[in-house]
């Protein structure tokens, strides 16, 4: 955390600040002046290591600290809150370097929506004393970046994410903060404030339609790790649901989990039915299929694919390839190819060969009506071919 900040509450900010943020910053100024009067300088502690926390602390702090100060200017802050407090005090101590931590201002989001949301958060922070207070407590656990805790697997949030201490991190931090919440004095007030803000947050979340999830504690909800994990899981599930929505055509318009699921189920069922219908159609098309025209195409494809595939795929393809082109014209060359393929496939399926050998009835090997096999001069070749055929 840089000890020096740009001076000026609202002046140093980029022009994208929304009024609310400016307001919170102005708040700081007032508090700062208050502080100067009260000369409250509890012991300063080294600033938290994470630059990311500063922003949230900033947002979380002003009102809370203001409340604190107003109510009990002389109160020594609990260690839990000191992390954030001292940051604030840093600013206060050095009035010239107030406001946004410099780490944040250059990277402050120019994304209007993000700014807006941040602003909303700052408003919440104003109402939300315990949470705000607990945000600083989070700074103690500064080492593990909130990023892993943050919800979004989606790429949507990535563009917005890189800024330290922005929104996705905030809910994560709040989660953690709630985890380590130390009950501050104004618990009751905090509870109601939390409830109010939680409600708004929920609405917010619902209306935003963002890929990531703001996880906030609802009123009376436990902030233990269990429900936090639960909420994380829920976020994951919702993210995947969004992914599915994009996959299924026409699903993005639908709102409501149940209907979306309906649509997904319908889509899967229709695809499965299509597979069935097409297979029936193929059965009708193909009483006896002449693959003469397909030889070159398949061999070309197979050559390319066989190189790129793993063992299993290669084995299968080669066998299939062997069978398919070995229909009518070009038996000569096919036989040669087949022989080559045989050896290769042998290496792939070594243990299958012996067993099939025993079971193979020689009479099966030569099928006069077979469109599959060219008649091999070598018995072994035919046997191999048939083995592969039967294996596969």
């Amino acid at each position: 955390m840089e000890p020096t900040r740009s001076s000026g509450a609202g002046s140093g900010n980029s022009g994208t600040y929304t009024p609310e943020i400016a307001e919170s910053l102005r708040f700081e100024e007032e508090i700062q002046s208050l502080m100067r009067e009260n000369t409250v300088h509890p012991s300063l502690e080294p600033p938290p290591a994470t630059g990311g926390s500063s922003f949230t602390a900033l947002l979380g702090l002003p009102a809370n600290q203001a409340v604190e100060l107003l109510h009990d200017p002389d109160s020594g802050d609990s260690p839990a809150a000191s992390g954030g407090c001292e940051m604030w005090r840093f600013r206060l101590r050095d009035p010239k370097v107030m406001t946004l931590p410099s780490g944040c201002s250059p990277t402050f989001p120019s994304n209007a929506s993000l700014v807006e949301r941040a602003a909303r958060f700052s408003i919440f922070a104003a109402e939300d004393s315990p949470e705000a207070a607990s945000v600083p407590s989070h700074t103690h656990s500064s080492d593990h970046s909130p990023k892993p805790k943050a919800e979004p697997p989606d790429s949507d949030s990535q563009p917005i994410c890189p800024i330290p201490g922005e929104r996705p991190q905030r809910p994560a931090k709040r989660k953690e903060a709630e985890k380590g919440i130390k009950v501050k004095g104004p618990a009751k007030k905090g509870r109601s404030a939390e409830e109010g803000s939680a409600k708004v947050a929920e609405d917010n979340t619902g209306g935003d339609k963002l890929p990531y999830v703001h996880v906030r504690a609802r009123r009376g909800q436990a902030t233990d790790s269990h429900s936090l994990a639960e909420r994380a899981r829920r976020g994951k599930i919702n993210a995947r649901m969004k992914l599915l929505q994009e996959l299924v055509p026409g699903c993005s318009k639908i709102s409501g989990t149940a209907l979306v699921l309906d649509e997904i189920i319908n889509h899967v069922q229709s695809l499965q039915r299509q597979v069935e219908l097409l297979s029936m159609r193929l059965a009708a098309v193909n009483p006896r299929i002449d693959f003469s025209g397909v030889d070159s195409f398949l061999s070309a494809e197979c050559g390319r694919v066989a190189v790129g595939n793993g063992r299993g795929g290669v084995g299968m393809e080669q066998s299939a390839w062997m069978e398919a082109p070995a229909v009518n014209g070009g038996r000569r060359q096919q036989q040669q190819l087949q022989q080559q393929q045989i050896w290769h496939v042998d290496s792939v399926h070594p243990h299958q060969m012996p067993s099939v050998w025993e079971r193979d009835d020689p009479s099966h090997l030569f099928n006069p009506g077979s469109s599959l096999l060219g008649y091999e001069p070598a018995n072994s070749a035919s046997l191999h071919i048939n083995q592969l055929k039967t294996e596969l």
């Binding site: 649901m241 996959l247 695809l271 243990h351």
Partner: protein, 182 residues
């Protein structure tokens, strides 16, 4: 994606080929990836339905092979080969769908959604023992693979159709020539 498509295509064409040949029955070799669905011998005399069913099986096998390593793929393969290969995948726990909905949902909604999730579990191969989030993942992958399979089958159908037409045409030409030659 060429590879899975080509793979399914080959499996498909392979199977269609063997449909015209009597094949000695082979037992399942579950330890390898033998496609022993081909074991049932098929002649041209096999009923249309039977052939259709076998083609469908081949198609599903191709589908499973096209996305190896996926839970649903393994489950589908197991089902096709009628083997109990349950141990391969790390079996995930069964899960309620409670966490799918936000807390604001009432019980009815949760039940509705739970019903649908269960339906989805039945449809997606291997979905029975998947938690909701994993289920959605697998569903997404399954949908993609299904779509690819359908595309392959459509292409194959039109291709074979054309081939069949050409063959008939040439056969008729040959016949004519023979007739004329006599």
């Amino acid at each position: 994606m060429l590879d899975p498509t080509a793979l399914s295509l080959f499996l498909f064409s392979f199977h269609t080929q063997t449909n015209t040949n009597p094949t000695p029955p082979m037992e399942n070799q579950g330890n390898d990836k033998t496609l022993s669905f081909v074991k049932t011998s098929a002649t041209t005399n096999a009923s249309f339905l039977e052939r259709g069913r076998r083609i469908k099986m081949a198609a599903e096998m191709g589908l499973a092979e096209s996305s190896r390593g996926r839970h649903w793929s393994r489950a589908l393969e197991d089902r096709l080969l009628r083997r109990k290969g349950d141990s391969a995948c790390g079996c995930q726990k069964e899960d309620l769908v409670q966490d799918l909905v936000g807390e604001e949902a009432g019980d009815d909604e949760v039940m509705e959604i739970a019903r649908r999730v269960r339906a989805l579990q039945k449809i997606v191969p291997g979905g029975e023992d998947l938690a909701t989030d994993r289920l959605f993942e697998e569903t997404a992958d399954y949908i993609g693979a299904l779509q690819r399979q359908v595309n392959v089958m459509r292409a194959l159908t039109s291709l074979l159709d054309r081939l069949e037409k050409e063959r008939r045409f040439f056969l008729s030409v040959k016949k004519e020539k023979r007739l004329m030659g006599e």
